[in-house]
């Protein structure tokens, strides 16, 4: 038991970071109703500002300005701390005013997309401003001398100090929410926004305050923790944010103490895994550290979640409007024709861009079915695609299962994973469900993609995939001395067309109507006899199957599968791209395919991006945010609205002018 005490105490620093991030997420959500995936990235920037100030410089975040102002020497701990916190407060203010305030009435997914844009902006900013020393260590701030509890239990003191400080901050936030006017107003607005407005409080101002407070909490903890763990662009951005999301989920994004306690427990338990992995033979060999806490959270949420939503909670996670379904011969012939002609006549680089667009369209179709029609968010689509890709490799290489049986079986395996991740949707919805699917994706990444048994190693050459062949007809991209065969692209277009027609058909079928009914109002659908549970599992299954097909197409294209293609960030990006294209219709999926990274639009403007040089990714992130603000219902939705407005204007212009009857 003494041994376990030792390991648990060693986890206090990590637990404190997770707890503080969870607290920051709760504060943000309480004040603004949104989950800020960019929270860790923002806090990381504040940490870098502190580290740079300790080296005698202040970094400017704007391209074109000088990289930094040089003070000439270390400004000292207090000045550095103060200036870094000031930066964090300003950052919270600006991020809310410039990014989230314009999206105040936008669908929740538009806000998720904007927060993903923030992640891209801040991580690329760190890479640019700290390109020679992105991995920074700063001098100790908290006391580090070891402290002995009992014989054999001597641990560094700084983790305990950090935990104590986080508990103090939590107590202050809790007390403020109970006993101050601002805290009570924020709580009131979270419960009933209209009521708060009637009492004279501005929800936007409350949201702004919550962003500033959360940003300060994140900055304090990252600065204090940076001597214990090397600063890098990814550590606080994702590594601690993801378990913090799980902790906030347990706290229902509203309760500070359950969130903080869960965050601490995650850190302490993860630390004790160091010993458990030796003591218990059943302990998973790979992925347990990050994966097990998420499995527990998913299971807990299945039992803790509510079966039916509160009044208004569907509105709270509002999805973009669904346009009427209309499949015309022209809507098929034009895109398919353009793609096929392009594949046949353009050079290999254009051909590659068309193939990327086609595969991205397939992945976006999976989200159209799940989120657009079914109303269920998912941050795990690329994990499903990866499962199918690796399964295809096993089926085709080890068991010689031929094409097209192998990809179909592989996609069915992805479907099983989709259903498993979708089970919590029976009790959880909206933002909570989005986080749970993220947790599901993380669990798949941890337990499947990290295991050499499933993904291969050097002795197997990784996870290879043979060319697709129908009898003697090879449909592969590369054959003999042909490095880019159009036939493979045509195969991709054919598969995408079949799936697009299937999704469009679902939209107009009885199943589609049940999905739309569930999406619109679960209570009403339930009352009308719709089996909500079945509908939800159907959309998760169908969506994961389509994503699995996408994963197989990726595998066939590159002849091998790598976990690097299917990570959590890839899933977030896929959702962002699909949403921006238009997540409620098939044409939106095609639009998102066109705008996907390395797709046709990307290739078209690559010369412009070249001119942007090292700031390309930073500006790409800004454009993502801007596009979300300008087209909160997606590009396809924006185009649709403009076309409708133009038609209305034309119709009005055609109406005869009524001559007013003169008064007598």
């Amino acid at each position: 038991m003494t041994d376990y005490l030792f390991f648990i105490l060693l986890g206090t620093g990590a637990g404190a970071i997770i707890a503080a991030f969870g607290l920051g997420l709760v504060v943000t959500y309480q004040g603004s109703g949104l989950v800020n995936f960019g929270y860790g990235a923002m806090a990381t920037w504040a940490g870098y500002v502190y580290a740079d100030l300790r080296q005698g410089a202040y970094p400017f975040p704007i391209p074109g300005l000088p990289a930094r102002y040089h003070f000439g020497e270390d400004v000292g701990i207090w000045w550095a701390f103060g200036l870094a916190l000031l930066t964090a407060a300003l950052m919270g203010l600006l991020v809310y005013q410039l990014v989230f305030r314009p999206l105040y009435r936008a669908p929740a997914l538009a806000k998720v997309v904007a927060s993903i844009g923030l992640v891209i902006v801040f991580t690329s900013l760190i890479e640019r401003r700290f390109e020679d020393n992105a991995g920074l260590r700063v001098d100790a701030i908290l006391p580090r001398e070891p402290v002995t509890f009992t014989e054999g239990v001597t641990v560094p003191r700084d983790g305990l100090w950090l935990m104590f400080i986080v508990v103090l901050i939590t107590a202050a936030v809790w007390a403020s929410s109970r006993y101050t006017r601002l805290g009570l107003a924020t709580k009131a607005a979270a419960g009933n926004e209209k009521g708060a407005i009637l009492l004279g409080y501005s929800p936007q101002r409350l949201a702004q305050s919550s962003f500033v407070l959360a940003s300060l909490i994140g900055a304090v903890v990252v600065i204090l923790a940076s001597p214990m763990i090397q600063l890098s662009s990814g550590v606080f951005t994702f590594l601690y944010l993801i378990p913090a999301l799980g902790a906030a989920l347990i706290g229902a994004f509203t309760k500070v103490w359950p969130t903080v306690i869960t965050g601490l427990v995650i850190g302490l338990v993860q630390s004790s895994f160091t010993k458990m992995q030796v003591d218990f033979s059943w302990f998973p060999q790979y992925g347990a550290r990050e994966g097990l806490p998420f499995l527990v959270i998913i299971v807990a949420m299945v039992f803790l979640g509510e079966r039916l939503p509160d009044r208004g909670s569907v509105e709270h996670f509002r999805m973009p409007a669904i346009p009427p379904a209309k499949v015309t011969p022209l809507s098929i012939i034009v895109p398919v024709g353009v793609a096929v002609v392009g594949l046949l006549v353009l050079d290999p680089l254009w051909r590659g861009a068309i193939m990327t667009t086609t595969i991205a369209t397939v992945l976006a179709l999976s989200l159209v079915l799940l989120s657009g029609f079914g109303g269920q968010p998912s941050l795990a689509q690329l994990a499903f695609a990866g499962v199918a890709g690796f399964a295809l490799s096993k089926l085709a290489m080890q068991w010689d299962v031929p094409f097209p049986i192998a990809p179909i079986l592989a996609s069915l395996i992805a479907m099983v994973f989709g259903v498993l991740v979708g089970i919590p949707a029976l009790r959880v919805r909206g933002t909570n469900l989005a986080i749970i699917t993220l947790a599901g994706g993380v669990a798949i990444n941890e337990f499947v993609f990290k295991n050499p048994k499933y993904v291969g190693d050097a002795s197997t050459g990784g996870a290879k995939v043979p060319n697709p062949r129908l009898g003697n007809w090879d449909l592969g991209l590369i054959l003999g001395d042909q490095a880019s065969r159009p036939i493979f692209g045509i195969l991709l277009v054919g598969v995408a067309l079949v799936l697009a027609l299937a999704v469009a058909n679902i939209r107009t079928s009885a199943s589609g109507r049940r999905m739309l009914a569930t999406r619109s109002n679960e209570r009403a659908a339930n009352a009308s006899g719709v089996n909500i549970a079945r509908v939800k599992l159907e959309v998760f299954a169908g969506s994961a199957f389509i994503a699995g097909v996408g994963g197989c197409l990726i595998a066939y294209r590159f002849g091998s599968v790598s976990d690097a293609s299917f990570g959590t960030v890839a899933s977030l990006t896929a959702l962002a791209v699909a949403y921006l294209g238009g997540i409620t219709c098939v044409s939106g999926a095609v639009t998102s395919g066109i705008t996907a990274s390395a797709g046709v639009a990307f290739y078209l403007i690559s010369n412009l991006f070249d001119a942007l040089g090292q700031w390309e990714v930073f500006i790409g992130g800004l454009l993502l945010i801007l596009t979300a603000i300008l087209n909160p219902e997606g590009i396809a939705g924006g185009i649709r609205q403009q076309v409708a407005a133009a038609k209305l204007k034309k119709a009005k212009a055609k109406q005869p002018v009524r001559t007013p009857i003169p008064a007598t």
């Binding site: 206090t12 214990m228 662009s233 990290k450 090292q614």
Partner: protein
């Protein structure tokens, strides 16, 4: 050196620093190398006791693995003495990952171009001036494949891979373009249609096992490593190598980025059964954390790790906390040789004063200068120097040597790893007050008998 945890997590690049570390090293290091004389008495003893006769691996030594250039620099008088080339240019392509957050290695392209500029003043490739064609991938397979197609369209004769996670091997093969690289990264690289001048993680782990057995007579070991796909693959390789070496082990997995306290926990658990030796597969911050954790806990077990933990950044940070640590792929840095002169000229053109400033750029420098060394051998043999003939000479491994060590390549010496051309490693230890010094008798440790 630029830090990048993402890509290391992705690809398990635990050996990249060996290239930078080997830059500027002397091929004649065996006579000058100094055994580590740190404060760790147990380690001192094991190093001092090492006898050359004991360092010979059992079994048949593959043809061509005997160092051939220990007394003569790889290029005779070296590149410095050669005149500018005057033949037709040879176009060499390089795919490198740049521009994405977490995946940005421009230093490789920059250093490679500097090496090409240097060679264009000093012999080129077998008398042919070098034209570099660079293509930037962004870490996604789509862009790697597009780069392969782009370079094929530009008619490159030979490819030297930079840091490319998803090389478009099939595209290059279909276009009849030979592909070379310095280090394999992902598992697929080990069986691709390509040749690698260095060994990568698999040979590094074999060297770890061989060194533990031959230098420490180890029969028990502890392993600490991160729980990510790349590190898990490397750990699996290490376990197989330890099985071959007859060493039993306990493996402890930690997070990708632990706190310093977390690293203490890992080191504590890995030494719970008092093993003969420890292996650490951590890189960057993990090197610092595990080194400090070992000292904080008073652990005296020697630790074997990769050259990435011997980087100047790590050593500057931990100082003498690195006593008792051994680094696969590192060796004593020397001056006054033709290779050092060539490197100095390249460093000067980049505005650097120390080879460690090259960072991952060392991949490009050693890669291109090794290819030029091979090309010069081809020219000396009276053959036409082309991409294909350079590749064929490397593949045949008939007396061609690497730069800067002058060790003979031995492509195909291990049939399971047909792409690997180098199976030997120098091994160094940290010496208090002095720094990294080659361990006597381990200037070129052969790993073939320990490969999984």
């Amino acid at each position: 050196m630029k830090r990048n945890n993402h890509v290391r997590a992705l690809a398990g690049l635990t050996v990249l620093a060996l290239v930078a570390a080997s830059c500027g090293s002397d091929s004649d290091s065996s006579s000058d190398s100094v055994a580590p004389a740190g404060t760790d008495a147990a380690v001192e003893e094991t190093v001092a006791d090492t006898a050359p006769a004991d360092t010979e691996p059992a079994g048949t030594e593959p043809a061509g693995t005997e160092p051939t250039g220990t007394d003569a620099p790889a290029g005779g008088e070296g590149f410095i003495a050669l005149p500018p080339p005057d033949g037709d240019p040879i176009v060499v392509g390089m795919v490198n990952t740049e521009g994405s957050p977490g995946l940005d290695f421009p230093e490789i392209s920059i250093a490679t171009q500097a090496a090409a500029d240097f060679l264009n003043e000093h012999g080129g490739m077998g008398g042919r001036p070098i034209e570099m064609e660079f293509c930037q991938a962004n870490g996604a397979p789509e862009t790697s494949q597009a780069c392969a197609q782009e370079l094929a369209g530009k008619g490159v004769e030979l490819v030297l891979l930079g840091l490319d996670l998803f090389p478009g091997y099939d595209t290059f093969t279909a276009s009849n373009i030979p592909v070379t690289g310095v280090l394999p990264i992902l598992p697929g690289d080990y069986t691709a249609n390509a040749l690698f001048l260095g060994g990568g993680n698999t040979t590094t782990t074999a060297a770890m096992a061989a060194f533990a057995q031959q230098n420490f007579d180890a029969t028990t070991a502890g392993i600490v490593s991160a729980d990510n796909a790349g590190a898990n693959g490397t750990e699996a390789d290490l376990k197989k190598a330890l099985d071959k070496a007859g060493i039993t082990y306990v493996s402890i997995k930690g997070g990708d980025n632990e706190t310093d306290a977390g690293y203490q926990g890992l080191m504590s658990q890995a030494t719970a059964d008092n093993p003969d030796v420890l292996f650490s597969l951590y890189a960057d911050a993990g090197c610092i954390g595990t080194m400090r954790g070992r000292v904080a806990l008073g652990i005296e077990t020697p630790v074997i790790t990769t050259a990435i933990c011997a980087s100047a950044e790590v050593i500057d940070e931990v100082g003498d906390d690195a006593v008792g640590w051994y680094f696969i792929g590192s060796q004593t840095e020397r001056e006054g040789t033709p290779e050092a002169a060539a490197l100095d000229a390249i460093l000067e053109s980049l505005g650097f004063t120390n080879s460690t400033e090259l960072g991952l750029g060392g991949l490009g420098v050693t890669g291109l200068l090794s290819l030029a060394t091979i090309a010069n051998s081809v020219a000396d043999g009276g053959e036409d120097v082309t991409g294909a003939s350079i590749y064929a000479a490397l593949g045949a491994s008939d007396g061609v040597v690497n730069w800067p060590d002058g060790n003979a390549f031995s492509c195909g010496a291990a049939p399971t790893y047909p792409t690997i051309c180098n199976f030997t490693f120098p091994i160094a230890g940290y010496v208090a007050g002095t720094g990294i010094e080659t361990v006597e008798g381990f200037e070129a440790l052969d790993t073939t008998d320990f490969l999984p």
